[in-house]
Symmetry: C2
Subunit: 317 residues, 2 copies
Amino acid sequence: MEKPYVIGIDMGGTNTVFGIVDVRGNVISKSAIKTAVHDDVNLYVNDIYHELMKLIDADGGIDQIRGIGVGAPNGNYYSGTIEYAPNLPWKGVIPFAKLLSDKFGVPVALTNDANAAAIGEMTYGIARGMKDFIMITLGTGVGSGIVIDGKLVYGHDGFAGELGHTTAIRNGRLCGCGKNGCLEAYSSATGVARTAREILETTNQESILRNIPLSDITSKDVYDAAKEGDQVAIDIFNFTGKILGEAFADFVAFSSPEAIILFGGLSKAGEFILNPIVENMEKNLLKMWKGKIKILFSELKESDAAVLGASALAWEL
Amino acid sequence: MEKPYVIGIDMGGTNTVFGIVDVRGNVISKSAIKTAVHDDVNLYVNDIYHELMKLIDADGGIDQIRGIGVGAPNGNYYSGTIEYAPNLPWKGVIPFAKLLSDKFGVPVALTNDANAAAIGEMTYGIARGMKDFIMITLGTGVGSGIVIDGKLVYGHDGFAGELGHTTAIRNGRLCGCGKNGCLEAYSSATGVARTAREILETTNQESILRNIPLSDITSKDVYDAAKEGDQVAIDIFNFTGKILGEAFADFVAFSSPEAIILFGGLSKAGEFILNPIVENMEKNLLKMWKGKIKILFSELKESDAAVLGASALAWEL
């Protein structure tokens, strides 16, 4: 009998969420542990095993599990390793897929979180049936998963698709990666907060954001202010959307996707971010692409999306 | 018996060159006609037929021909059409592959010239065995052919790989495509000539380039001057290479190629252009790619390369 379930593991810097998923993309059970409490990755794997086996046993045992898919920061699909992830406690190259498959006795596939999101979108989400699209995750950082001709792009070394670290503004803001002017430094949630601080510090414009201590402003505060009609907040999204739209025009020139799909916290800003993205992308597209490239929001339930995306990897095992 | 030959047709704005190619990549016979003498594309097809059948008959007749590959400006692989090519006399959408296959009675595949060069490089050149690379053609314009996982990237509409029209300098030079600041406006042969004029007009630096009327300076003149140790000429290549290297770092973030391969007139500038490309690409790469991405020059004989590239398409028919 065909094994009916896969497991998706979404490893974040703080929490690791995992769930059992059926072939229709239903998360039938879900749990989580803290990621960063152990310096020894083996103890972390033990924690996952302990918690996950409770779910597995409740759903019919390990014989029902076809495989495990993992979305992890700096995850390498080819080698199954996590390599030099700055936000994780384990340094160097961690053979994480092997550690898990040895522990559970089922096959394990691993990639980075944005790639997992792209595969999830293609398997269960708005990209079903699309062969060429780009997934952009707008969270604490900016990630991307690129699908060309129905397949995820891994590149020669497994690390392709770092569009958050293409240059948006030459010699611009310092990015966490050490380079200047990266897209991520402007259009992540933290980039939006940074833009807010810059505008508030360099202008005298009235804004309800001035009621919040500068260093505490988040992208959610900016969104809330924009909904109230706050012009500074709207300007912040216009600036962020302009930078994203200009970058997207270059991405289109590369792979000519049918759609660019937005995922993650910042995509909740809806039209405040969508309108300037579309306007500035269109302005910068070659004539043959004008009016033809869709900008869409992910339809996956945010709380389940990362687990779903990771789990989708396991169907290919 | 397996048919032993393919035909490659390289359609340029001025000349159309074609040749018969064997499985080892030898151009066993070659000829050419003028491209732009007829407003009616059917008369142009007749001209090709007339000249090409002489070669075909001399090499054993049409039964020896497996197929025809065409590299053409704005050529679309999916539809076999040439669409709105600004440098050709036929306007709108031309079903060129169908016109040729009806005329010759053999299958025809068509793509744009830079894609044809990439396929040629993969089939007969320095990219043999590579699964992930980017071909950059530095000629009158800047073209690109992107290979990912062993396959050329066509995108959802057949037009992917327009890297010459990614933005190098926001609000920069006006490009022939109507946008501002495109890579092509700086790093094509005409872009190099434009840089020469800008530097000579805005500085008083001594240069042997001042012996040439400003509007007559070509990229070849700049190369000749650089070989003489002319500092202005060397600065021109440093500037051009900086722009290319910065762009290449973004291309690497997209598809993580094993190599970026340079082809076309400007690549003759050798180390004058290579050194600043490598230096500025390395500066802008994420840490994991530093020192790992090769910048190579095409090894295909320039006079045969375009025909070889187009012919390579026909082996897949």
